[in-house]
Every structure is written in C-alpha cells, then in structure tokens.
C-alpha cells in the first residue's frame, strides 16, 4: 500500500474513533491522545500517516467534545474548561444547540487557518531555535502574568502566581522523591477537575454547604430546532455571522503564532478579548464561543506543528502533552538526538499530510455533530444524569493519574484539584492561569530560590 493510502485510512480511523471519544465528556487530551498515537507509531505506520492520524484525531475530538461542553456544561476536555461559562449562559437561555453550532463552525475555521500558518511560521522560526529553547520558562511566566490580569480574579490572580508556583513546585518535588519522575498529566487533571471537586467539597462541609443546596431540580428549556442550511453538510460561514467569522479568523491566526502558551490560557485570553468587544448576553456568549473554539483548535494544531517543524524537540504545552509521541516514541522516534518527524518530513509534507487529516476529520465529525446536535441534547438530557457524568469524570481522572504514577498520581491530582478548585471558585483564579503557572513554576522557583 502506498504511503498516501495508508495516511488516508489512518486519518479515517482517527476521525471516527475520536469523534466518538469526543462525545464522552472529560476525556483528558494528553491521556487519550498519547496511548492511541503511540499505538499507531509502534505498530509501524509510516511517519506521514502518523501525522495524518494525529491531525484527524485532534480535529475530530475537538469538534465533538463541543457537545458535552455546550449541552451539559461539562468540559469536553481540559481545553474546553474556559468555554463553560459562555456555554452555560446560552444553555440557560434555552439554546444550547446554538452554542454548539457556533463552537463547531468556529473550530473548523480555526483548524484550516492554523495549518498553513503553523507550517510557514515553523519554517521561519527554525532559525531562532536556540533562543526559544533557552527562554521558555521566562515566556511561560510572562504569559501567566498577562493571562492572570485578564482573568476574573484580576489582581488576586496576579498576586497568587508566586505562592501557587511555590505550591506546585513543592508537591512536584515531593512526588519526584517518591516516583523519581516529574508528573504532568496528574497536574493537568487536578486543575481540570478542580471546580467540580470543590463543589463536592462544599457540599460535604456543613459550613459551606448552604450555597449549593437547592429545593427543586433544575429546569432546562430547549428552543425549537431550526436548520439554517440545506443538505447534510452545513456551510460554517453561514452558521457564523460575518463579524464572528472575522473574530474567529483573527484570534485563530494570532493564537497559531503564540505556540509557547498554554492552549487553555490562550483560549481564555482570546475569549476575554472577543467577549469585551461584544455587548449583550446572547451575542457575547455566541461570539466568544465561536472564536474560543477556533483558538483551542488552532493552538492545538500550531503547537504540535511549529516545534516539530522548527526544532524537533517538544517546546510547547501541546508538544509536551498530547503530541509528545510525535517527538519521542522510542525506538521509532527520539528527540535526543533528534530523529523524528522533524527530519522525516519536509515542510511541504507537513502541510499535505496535515491537510489530509484535517479534511477527512472535517468531512466526518463536522456534519455529524451539526446535524445530530439537538437530538443528542435531548438524548443526553433525558438519559444521562449529572451524577453519572461527574462520577465518570472523577473516575477517569483517578485512572489516568494512577496510570501516570500510581497512588502518588491520584493523591497529587486530588490535592491539586482541591487547592486549584477552591482558588478558582472562591477567588476567581481561572484554570488558564493555573496551567500557565504550572508551566512557569520551575523557572520561577529556580530564579527566586535558586532550586
């Protein structure tokens, strides 16, 4: 079989599997992408096909994870956390399916903007490889300050950066002394399930419980279905208004360039910017959702492609997480010395095989989610209780943390979730800020304390 045919088949497999996985809320990206990608690599797929598979999987998963985010208010994965507030506004107005359509169309546009941008920018950046390798810690720290200032907590978030970095470094050092490796998935998971865990903790405390007690079940109103397109494949440019398309395109383009930032942080930042330029609950929420989902898509794609193409070493949060097998999957790929997609594919091949992945995922996941969105809402709302979803989310988090570092991983995740969740819920220190502080913590502590 030719490389092209294998690439198409693997992209197809990636798109179908990850469209389904995306429907399950709370599937942590890193923990889900890594084993599947590793499987494909270790089974001996050619590098071109591995790349097509990865691109198709990322896009398909991002598109369908919008469903739990919009319809149930549960983040489809960590990158969907900042979208929750806007999604629940539209959910309360009775139009969760509108939230979903805006997100899907924004995501699709974001993906196709990110691919060429990232390939060109990656080529350009190749010449500054040394600078970026040496100053990533500083970049993460500055980004944390910027994002903290734009978050809900504002000054308190800025003020919490150092103490929070100290806390993270402390539990990192302690867990290192037990398992002799630095954990990352467990930290991600802890930050992601933080708000959920803090709600549960509140409900267990007689002192804090009052704020969460309700005397009746929550009511939801679902507006009538309106299909604003003909045929099976909707036109994303008609789902979004002209202004929304422009915002999505602009924010996706900018976020493709800021590859060293956390996708969650970038999404929060861009969402705040777009949100502040739109007035009125409905318009603010729908415009923010379109561009935020475009940003999660574009940061993910760009953060995988740029370091691969420019450096061959993982120098972005995505490259350190979900895309890490593309850099390091011994014995097939290694980053020390660099022997991975960086040397195996030309920039033109990155573009071509990336495009194959994106097109196939777009053809499968986008119309599926668009056409069955409302039916999926009704099904989920009637049949799947919040208890089951929250239970699964916490179960998955414990499983993945356990996979990373056994009991230490689970404890670290729960500690992180309790502290991060309370900071988030009580003081408004958002998840995006927490992620950035996590990435910058090593740099900050070594500069301040010399450790």
């Amino acid at each position: 079989m030719s490389v092209l045919v294998i690439s198409i088949l693997l992209a197809l497999a990636g798109a179908i599997i990850f469209s389904l996985i995306g429907l399950v809320s709370g599937t942590d990206e890193t923990a889900i992408m890594v084993p599947f990608t590793l499987l494909v690599i270790l089974l001996g797929a050619p590098p071109e096909a591995v790349f097509s598979f990865f691109m198709a999987a990322v896009l398909a998963k991002h598109l369908t994870h919008a469903i739990p985010t919009a319809l149930m208010g549960i983040p489809g994965d960590t990158t969907a956390v900042p979208l929750i507030d806007h999604a629940s506004s539209l959910r309360r107005l009775g139009v969760p399916h509108v939230a979903l359509r805006k997100m899907l169309s924004g995501g699709l546009i974001g993906a196709f903007i990110a691919l060429p941008t990232a390939v060109l920018f990656g080529q350009f950046l190749g010449q500054f490889a040394d600078f970026f390798k040496s100053s990533s810690g500083l970049i993460f720290t500055l980004a944390a300050i910027l994002i903290a200032y734009f978050s809900k907590g504002k000054w308190v978030s800025v003020l919490m950066i150092i103490p929070f970095a100290f806390f993270i470094k402390s539990i990192d050092t302690f867990s290192f002394s037990v398992v002799e490796k630095h954990l990352s998935t467990s930290f991600f998971l802890g930050i992601a399930i933080g708000p959920m865990l803090s709600d549960i903790l509140f409900s267990l405390s007689p002192a804090a419980r009052k704020g969460l007690v309700r005397s009746s079940a929550k009511e939801y109103h679902l507006a009538p279905e309106t299909k604003s397109w003909r045929g099976y494949f909707p036109n994303p440019f008609r789902v979004l208004t002209g202004r929304q398309t422009a915002y999505t395109a602009a924010t996706s383009f900018v976020s493709s360039l800021t590859f060293a930032f956390s996708p969650v942080g970038m999404t929060s930042l861009m969402g705040e910017i777009v949100g502040s330029r739109n007035k009125g609950v409905y318009k603010k929420a729908s415009s923010s959702l379109a561009s935020m989902n475009g940003v999660t898509e574009s940061t993910y794609i760009a953060e995988a492609i740029i370091p691969l193409l420019a450096f061959g070493i993982p120098l972005s949060p995505v490259a350190l997480g979900p895309a890490s097998p593309l850099f390091n999957a011994p014995p097939v790929f290694t980053s020390e010395p660099v022997n991975n997609l960086h040397n195996m594919l030309t920039p033109w091949e990155f573009f071509l095989y990336g495009l194959i992945g994106l097109v196939i995922a777009a053809l499968i996941a986008y119309p599926f989610a668009m056409n069955y969105a409302r039916r999926a809402t009704v099904f989920v709302m009637k049949n799947i209780s919040q208890e089951a979803i929250v239970g699964m989310f916490i179960g998955l988090a414990c499983l993945l943390a356990f996979h990373e570092a056994q009991l230490v991983g689970v404890m670290l995740t729960l500690t992180m979730a309790a502290v991060g969740g309370l900071l988030n819920r009580v003081l408004g220190v958002s998840s995006g800020v927490q992620f950035m502080i996590f990435y910058g913590s090593t740099y900050m502590m070594s500069k301040l304390l010399g450790v």
Binding site: T27, P35, G73, R91, L93, D199, E219, Y282, C398, H403
Partner: protein, 148 residues
C-alpha cells in the same frame, strides 16, 4: 450496594428531596457519592485487570497502553451503569422559556433585561438570528414589557 441505596432512596422519595448543585446541574447527594465510588472502582479495576492479563498475550511495551484502554472501557461501563441506576433529576422542557423565566434568568446573570433587549433591537444580524431561533419573542416580552 449501589442498587440498595437507590431502592432506599426510592422509598424515601415522596418526602421533600434536597438537591445539591454541582457544575450547574442539580444532583442528589447520596447518588453523586455512589456514582463516584462506582466509577473509580470500575476504572481502576479495569486498569488492574489489564495489568494482570495483558502481559500474557501482548508485547511488554504495549501492556501499559492496553491496560489504560481497558480502564477507560471500565469508566465508560461506569457511566452506563450510573446512568441507568440514577435517572437525571433535571427537568427538560422542549419549548420556549416563558417571559418571566427569561427575565429571571437574565436578572440572575446580572444583566438588565431591558438593556439586553435594546441591544438586540439595534443589531439587525443578531436580531434576525434570534428570530429564526424563536427566542426573540421571549426576550421582547421580558425586556420590552415595561417599555412598550
């Protein structure tokens, strides 16, 4: 154990039930704790099962990945079990929100319904979109009431 809890609960159900709001949706406290226990047990259980059977049938380097997949299968199973044991406590109405409801919702989001309606009225693109969705009328009623 879980079914017993569900049964006990069903007996006590006619009395006034207390809900807890978690991530924007209401849940029954006993059920949420049972759901978490079931889910953790099945996820980690699936993982342990994988760790014990896969070394016999798969290559050593794949054992971790396969076990993780089995653990994920366990959490999906947990979702199915919990979804069938604990029915949603939310109430789904497949129709427009009443104007009073919408007004309450907007006020609880700290927005002024009237200002909100004014904004929509002056924005033809958003107005048309909300009209097509059939929610413009409710906005009009909740926001324009005192006005028109």
């Amino acid at each position: 154990m879980a079914t017993e809890i569900a049964r006990k609960e069903a007996k006590a159900a006619p009395a006034k039930r207390e809900y807890i709001e978690i991530l924007g949706d209401t849940v029954v406290p006993v059920r949420i704790l049972s759901a978490i226990v079931i889910s953790i047990a099945l996820s980690i259980g699936g993982y342990f099962l994988g760790k014990s059977i896969f070394p016999k049938i798969a290559e050593a380097k794949m054992v971790g990945s396969y076990s993780l997949l089995l653990g994920i299968a366990g959490s999906v199973l947990g979702l199915i079990i919990c979804a069938s044991l604990f029915k949603p406590s939310r109430i789904l109405t497949e129709e427009e929100t009443s104007s009073e409801g919408m007004e309450e919702i907007l006020l609880s989001m700290q927005t002024d319904p009237q200002a909100e309606y004014e904004l929509i009225k002056n924005d033809p693109v958003t107005k048309k979109e909300m009209e097509e969705l059939g929610i413009l009328e409710t906005f009009k009623r909740s926001g324009g009431r005192t006005h028109e």
